[in-house]
């Protein structure tokens, strides 16, 4: 890698390279170092109807630093979205993912962009994981044209076709049968890809989930159902909503694995295992034991149904970013200052993107009528008075 000194006018991608003057000669190649390191996951996996994968995960400095940066970016993005919502620049609903970043990041490390991911409305970080840009995120949140769904979807409806991200869905549990349908298509096309259908502990009690599971198991579909169990379905604790909160076992005849969702490496290992399993044997359930720091959405303070001590406790003991930070420091892969610099850089990137996103215009009013149907069907949409106002849907 070139060791040139960076000027402030250089392009954004060049800003990702660390300025050399601050790093020791030994650390020069950190961000491309792929020397394998083996790390043990925080807890062993618990399995249902299958053999659990090993606790030892192969990783390397590059991956760990990428994890750190990506998660720091996601964390900062969500916090910035919180402020924007309070400033009324984001309207409607906003469901934040901070605390759960390890799931998005670990999953991506185990799969390719040809595998499909479909999730619920808590989709900002999953979108980033799939390769979405910060600009698309903030513009979409603010309802601008530059957003990934052209400003028409909002927080709950991020999509990215070129990396097979089938989006964010508002209705709880509705995405799971859809995900199994995607898996069916993948099996048909024989391209060795799988679908990850993500849902929460609240959605785990939806009937349609079990219908989808049965169909997937019957037809051996490469579907991986991932329950992001953050222990609260909106304000309801899991033990109040489910007779059996062991979501990984709920598939009965479908094998399951319980994973520490705050450990990005455990998530990576589990997803890798699940992909191999799904391609050979059909559906599998992954239960990610995770936690969200924010409330269910921006209108939920998140403290009426759980104690502040619980939240700070998780932040201290299990925070995914801190975990990777400790790993990096203990393996001497970077200094504290370097990590702090990455965080500062990320913060600046987020702030700059927000400024840029604010410049993006609102969608044209004619967009109200576009894409209701496929083009060319010429359906009329009536307005206030059928004689006076008439708009033809394109």
């Amino acid at each position: 890698m070139a060791l040139s000194y960076l000027r402030s006018s250089s392009s954004r991608s060049a800003n990702l390279l660390k300025p050399l003057s601050s790093s020791l000669p030994l650390r020069r190649h950190i961000s491309t170092d792929t020397t394998p390191i083996t790390v043990e996951t925080s807890v062993p996996f618990t399995s249902h109807q299958c053999d659990a994968p090993s606790r030892s995960v192969e990783t390397n400095p590059k991956e760990l630093l990428t994890f750190f940066r990506d998660m720091a970016l996601m964390r900062r993005m969500e916090i910035a979205a919180d402020s924007l919502y309070k400033a009324k620049l984001i309207r409607g609903f906003c469901h934040l993912y901070d605390g759960q970043e390890a799931v998005a990041v670990g999953m991506e490390a185990a799969i390719t962009k040809k595998d499909c991911i479909i999730t619920s409305y808590r989709d900002h970080c999953t979108f980033i994981g799939r390769g979405g840009t910060l600009l698309e995120v903030f513009a979409e949140l603010m309802g601008r044209q530059g957003g990934c769904s052209k400003g028409k979807g909002g927080s709950m409806h991020f999509y990215k076709k070129d990396s097979n991200f089938y989006g964010g869905h508002g209705i709880v549990g509705a995405q799971v049968p859809l995900g199994c349908g995607l898996a069916f298509a993948q099996k048909y096309s024989k391209d060795e890809t799988v679908t990850f259908a993500l849902y929460g502990d609240g959605a785990a009690n939806q009937g349609q989930l079990f219908e989808a599971l049965n169909i997937s198991a019957l037809w051996d579909l490469p579907a991986i159902l991932v329950c992001e169990n953050n222990h609260y379905g909106m304000g309801t604790a899991e033990w109040r909503a489910a007779k059996s909160p062991a979501y990984y076992k709920r598939g009965d005849y479908v094998p399951g694995l319980k994973v520490d969702g705050m450990d990005a490496l455990a998530v990576k290992q589990a997803c890798k295992f699940a992909k191999e399993h799904a391609l050979k044997n059909g559906p599998i359930i992954l239960e990610m034991d995770t936690y969200r720091y924010h409330g269910h959405s921006m209108s939920d303070p998140g403290s009426t149904y759980r104690t502040r001590d619980e939240i700070t406790g998780v932040r201290q003991e299990r925070d995914p970013i801190e975990r990777i930070r400790k790993l990096i420091l203990s393996h001497d892969l970077a200094t504290e200052k370097e990590l702090k610099d990455i965080e500062k850089e990320v913060r600046k990137e987020v702030d700059d993107t927000i400024t840029q996103a604010k410049e993006s215009p609102m969608p044209d009013p004619s967009e109200l009528f576009t894409n209701v149907y496929a083009k060319g069907l010429g359906v009329e949409s009536f307005g206030a008075d059928r004689k006076e106002l008439r708009a033809s849907l394109p």
Partner: protein
């Protein structure tokens, strides 16, 4: 006039609007009416229902702590978890369960958290609840079932927190669909729905939960179902609506009056079975009718009203029936102001109809 008390513009005002007036603790015996908002009125109705019938149950997602709109505040503490309880996140399960509970002679008051989520339960409502009495030759019925759901736009609800699905249910013989316009109406109508021996779907205008404040009697009272109410007298055109839309229509009526057009405004209250006689009598007086609702115009309930009125009053009509409704698109995100049937759209249509 109740509608005068509805404050705040439709858009640009957050739902943290007025706090209820008057915190004086009046004695029930004095028969006083207190000014309260919509969710408090609903709360009172539920409290009375639970008090007066020991076999009444209130259940749904998150109702225990008071619900996302505070309609069920205090009920679990007062009546216990055996009668006021949370269900898991399964609408189909909630309604099916409610039908069974009602079939055993109980009053099951089920809450669907947002009307947008009612569709998984659609099969249960249409195929089970509405046909139970009919197909069992009156051996069984689920008349004790009342399903409550907040509906309608709220300024920033987007696709899945703003829908008005009343038209789907109006197409189902065997159930009743009731929509109140204000706190006093809501309490009386809800108690009637709960005590009606037929399954009822009760849609509550969520925009009005905090914004609408009205004097509501504290005692137990019921308002009749299937009776429309003329809430404003006029001679030039009949306006028909329900729920939150009525306050928008009333603003249009006031402005139209400045131009010398006197509008008669009717609150339908019960959508099925709807009060055809009252609407017909009004149309016979004015000769013109305009219907307004938030749901998309094509296939909305306005279409049924229009067809029925034309059937009954064809020779009396001076102008085609006007419908000022939501557009034929999914309920949009940033485009909500364009989608909605606003006061100006209604005013334009009033003038166009009168000058036909």
């Amino acid at each position: 006039m109740a509608l005068r008390n509805i404050l705040g513009k439709r858009f640009g005002v957050g739902l943290a609007g007025r706090r209820p007036l008057s915190t004086a603790t009046c004695d029930v015996e004095s028969g006083n009416a207190k000014a309260i908002n919509l969710y408090s009125a609903i709360n009172q109705a539920l409290l009375i229902a639970l008090e007066t019938d020991p076999r009444a149950f209130v259940f749904g997602e998150d109702v225990s702590f008071g619900g996302v709109f505070r309609c069920t505040t205090g009920l679990a503490d007062r009546f216990g978890k055996a009668r006021v309880f949370n269900t898991p996140l399964c609408e189909q399960g909630i309604v099916g369960f409610g039908i069974g509970l009602a079939a055993m002679g109980n009053r099951a008051i089920a809450e669907i958290q947002f009307a947008d989520y009612i569709y998984p339960a659609f099969d249960q409502i249409v195929n089970e609840a509405s046909k139970f009495r009919y197909r069992s030759g009156n051996q069984f019925n689920c008349g004790g079932l009342t399903i409550r759901a907040p509906y309608g736009a709220v300024g920033h609800g987007g696709h899945y927190h703003s829908q008005s699905p009343e038209a789907f249910f109006c197409h189902v013989p065997g159930i009743k669909v009731v929509i109140p316009r204000s706190p006093r109406q809501a309490k009386g109508l809800l108690l009637s729905c709960i005590r009606d021996p037929n399954p009822v779907v009760f849609f509550e205008p969520k925009w009005l939960y905090r914004l609408a404040v009205e004097e509501v009697p504290e005692h137990d009272y019921m308002l009749p179902l299937s009776e429309a109410e003329v809430i404003r007298q006029g001679s030039d055109i009949t306006l028909v609506g329900w729920g939150a839309q009525l306050s928008i229509m009333e603003q249009a009526c006031i402005e139209a009056e400045r131009d010398g057009i006197f509008c008669e405004l009717i609150d339908l209250k019960t959508l099925i079975p709807w009060d055809k006689e009252t609407v017909e009598a009004s149309v016979r007086k004015t000769g013109r009718v305009l219907i307004s609702h938030e749901a998309p115009v094509t296939g909305g309930f306005g279409a049924e009203i229009s067809a029925s009125i034309v059937e009954r009053c064809f020779l009396r009509l001076e102008a085609p029936v006007a419908r000022v409704c939501g557009l034929d698109t999914p309920f949009p995100l940033v485009f909500e102001p364009f989608y909605m049937p606003t006061k100006n759209k209604i005013l334009d249509a009033i003038k166009a109809t009168v000058n036909y």
